[in-house]
């Protein structure tokens, strides 16, 4: 089986879906001739032509607003927002229309749209290029949001996102684009939206995370193993809808949970997960749920991002604290 990195796996999924369904079209800034600033759409313009791989004017709201019209009309647009920090001009279109058109028209119009968003930090990028804006999406009824942590999931999640009848924001952790390669089957498969995975089984404490942070949790697990703490790691994958069943089952088993995410803490998805756990089964907890997250500050520039981003030491420390409680 061939080895793919995360960027290549997404490229493979896009190409395969475009082969299968003529209605799938790509649009965004620099995605055509340039193949995307991260080369995720490399080669697709040559293969599918400029009617299906469109370089657009530099206008994020236009990219999403036009995609909404295309989706309503019957196409399946996959739009790229070049960087996380540039999604904000398009939030009005996403929140006011993509998320609401099905409900507003009582099902007459639908918006099968995928918005690809390279996201998160750790690559020493300039300001506005390292953000984790998932809360805005998850907080909006009518939108779905997914984020892969590995090439295999990336391909299957992209297939599922493109085939989904509702708008899906597909976050792509930039740091993982080329971090590692993995066997990715050419054959068709989907990773269902709404299903988390157990990245590592364990019995003492559940680490709940997504994207780049899954790897930070894996690193923390190694450190904790030396202290005889056996962690279970949940890769949430689907931020909305959230797989609360997998999370609860794990926490009921371990009795301890640490949630790890890059986005700022206040009203981050960690808050929702912690509340869900305590509402559903507070008595299964042997310790308070802990969060290891980005701080409630603007994402620092390159020199200081290491201070902001959760790392294995912070995660391990939090896990030890809940073990000692």
């Amino acid at each position: 089986m061939a080895l793919f990195n995360l960027a290549q796996a997404i490229n493979l999924a896009l190409g395969q879906e475009m082969e299968k369904d003529k209605k799938v079209v790509l649009l965004g800034e620099d995605i055509g001739v340039d193949g995307g600033v991260f080369r995720v759409t490399e080669g697709l313009l040559d293969k599918f032509g400029s009617d299906r791989v469109m370089d657009t004017p530099l206008a994020e709201s236009a990219i999403i607003g036009a995609s909404i019209g295309m989706a309503i009309y019957g196409l399946k647009p996959v739009a790229e927002i070049q960087f996380d920090g540039f999604i904000y001009p398009a939030l009005d279109q996403l929140i006011s229309h993509a998320a609401k058109i099905r409900n507003r028209s009582r099902g007459r119009f639908t918006c099968p749209l995928v918005v690809r968003v390279p996201c998160a930090g750790g690559i020493h990028a300039p300001e506005h290029h390292s953000e984790s804006p998932e809360t805005h999406i998850v907080h909006t009824p009518g939108l779905k949001a997914v984020i892969p942590s590995n090439p295999y999931d990336a391909k299957g999640l992209m297939a599922a996102a493109i085939r989904d009848p509702d708008p899906v924001v597909f976050f792509e952790p930039k740091k993982l684009y080329r971090a590692s390669k993995q066997e990715v089957p050419e054959k068709d498969y989907e990773i269902p939206i709404g299903k988390a995975s157990i990245a590592k089984e364990g019995g003492d404490v559940t680490l709940i995370s997504w994207g780049t942070m899954v790897h930070v949790c894996t690193e923390a697990a190694e450190k904790l193993k030396e202290k005889n703490i056996d962690v279970e790691i949940i890769d949430v994958r689907s931020l909305s809808p959230l797989d609360t069943e997998t999370i609860l089952t794990s926490v009921q088993k371990t009795g301890r949970a640490v949630i790890v995410h890059e986005a700022p803490r206040t009203l981050g998805l960690g808050a929702e997960i912690a509340a869900t756990i305590s509402e559903a089964d507070i008595l299964s907890l042997k310790a308070p749920v802990k969060r290891v997250t980005g701080f409630d500050i603007p994402m620092p520039l390159a020199k200081h991002e290491y201070l902001y981003l959760p790392n294995a030491e912070r995660v391990a420390k939090a896990a030890e604290e809940v073990m000692k409680f």
Binding site: A66, G69, D92, P165, T244
Partner: protein, 356 residues
């Protein structure tokens, strides 16, 4: 060295003057002219009835369209069945003409989403309340038409206020770059709630904004059915045959309040409104029809009685629609309800049980 590298001009189109006189109307049959007239009168009766319903507490906040009947009806009349129409939120006249029932429009402004379940087969989008957001949807629809090789066009309505919004400008830019089959219809009714057109733009006309986006813009007497129809028809034909977008500025006037929650007398003079009443689009067409012996007092009386009853029937239907089951509010968020929504829906049922 400095030299002129670009210059432009903007045309103004009027066919039917304020006294109902015209040299040559744009090839409409007598039947079509009567249809347009009837549709305008229906829109006005509907509008007046809707305002009354709101005053009586039988309808929610409603945005009146009085004064814009020619702008809406004559432009929508130029559309083909397969063309798409993308309204803002005041286009009740266009929506009724295209086939949305009056009871459904009332249902929406009465606070019920089912009023915007556009019947399948009708190529009209739902109302878009956030100002200036919908031209981008029209651009997307037009882009899809182009990609799919269809010989159809899309038409989008927006107001003078919307020309200040980024999205409207992004849509025009997009349409220009991709040479989209799209007609931008700006109903310049002079007021965005209390803010006059002069505070939206320092541009002499709205029409000329098209020039900067690389396509044609034209200003049209928006209270002149013939000019509105003619300009829209040729812009649509151009769009369908690959000629790209057009911006049509319909110079008109919102005779009423912005919505039933507004009081326009706070910010504009009665004398200004009175001047525009003289340019009433319905009166103007009636004068023309009377002068051509197409219309009589008896015809008018008959029409008013017929349309009055039609509107009353719609009001009755609106008020007799059974309430939607409470749980339905969860069912159109996604194609399939998530577990989370199913749980929330169940909690609503329990709440109902507790109440009863």
């Amino acid at each position: 060295m400095e030299k002129e590298i670009a210059k432009f001009s903007v045309n103004y189109l009027q066919i039917l003057d304020e006294n109902g006189k015209c040299a040559e109307q744009p090839g409409l049959t007598q039947k079509q002219i009567k249809e347009i007239y009837e549709s305008m009168v229906l829109a006005r009766i509907f509008d007046e009835r809707s305002i009354k319903l709101q005053r009586e507490g039988r309808l929610g906040t409603y945005p009146p369209l009085k004064g814009q009947e020619a702008a809406q009806i004559a432009s929508a009349y130029a559309l083909g069945k397969n063309d798409w129409m993308i309204p803002a939120f005041r286009e009740h006249a266009s929506m009724i003409l295209r086939g949305l029932s009056m009871e459904m429009i009332l249902q929406y402004w009465g606070g019920d989403e089912r009023g915007q379940k556009i019947p399948s087969g009708e190529n009209d989008l739902t109302f878009a309340i956030p100002v200036g957001t919908q031209p981008l949807h029209a651009a997307g629809i037009a882009l899809a038409m182009k990609i799919m090789g269809e010989k159809t066009a899309s038409l989008v309505y927006f107001g003078d206020g919307a020309t200040s919004e980024g999205d409207t400008n992004e849509a025009m830019n997009f349409a220009g770059v991709f040479s989209l089959p799209l007609v931008f219809v700006c109903e310049n009714n002079q007021w965005a709630i209390s803010v006059p057109r002069s505070r939206q733009t320092a541009s002499q006309t709205i029409a000329q904004k098209a020039v900067a986006f690389g396509f044609e813009g034209v200003q049209v007497d928006g209270n002149d059915v013939f000019a509105v129809y003619s300009a829209t028809k040729s812009a649509l034909e151009k769009a369908r045959s690959g000629g790209g977008p057009t911006l049509i500025e319909l110079f008109t006037y919102r005779m009423g309040d912005h919505t039933t929650a507004d009081d326009a007398s706070k910010y504009r003079k009665k004398s200004e409104v009175d001047e525009w009443v003289k340019k009433d689009p319905i009166e103007r067409l009636r004068k023309y029809m009377e002068s051509k012996k197409l219309w009589s007092k008896a015809d008018e009386e008959k029409l008013l009685a017929k349309l009055g009853k039609k509107v009353e029937d719609a009001v009755k239907k609106y008020e007799s629609v059974p309430a939607e089951e409470p749980g339905k509010i969860f069912e159109y968020v996604y194609a399939e309800m998530t577990e989370n929504l199913k749980n929330q829906q169940k909690s609503l049922e329990h709440q109902d049980e507790a109440k009863s």
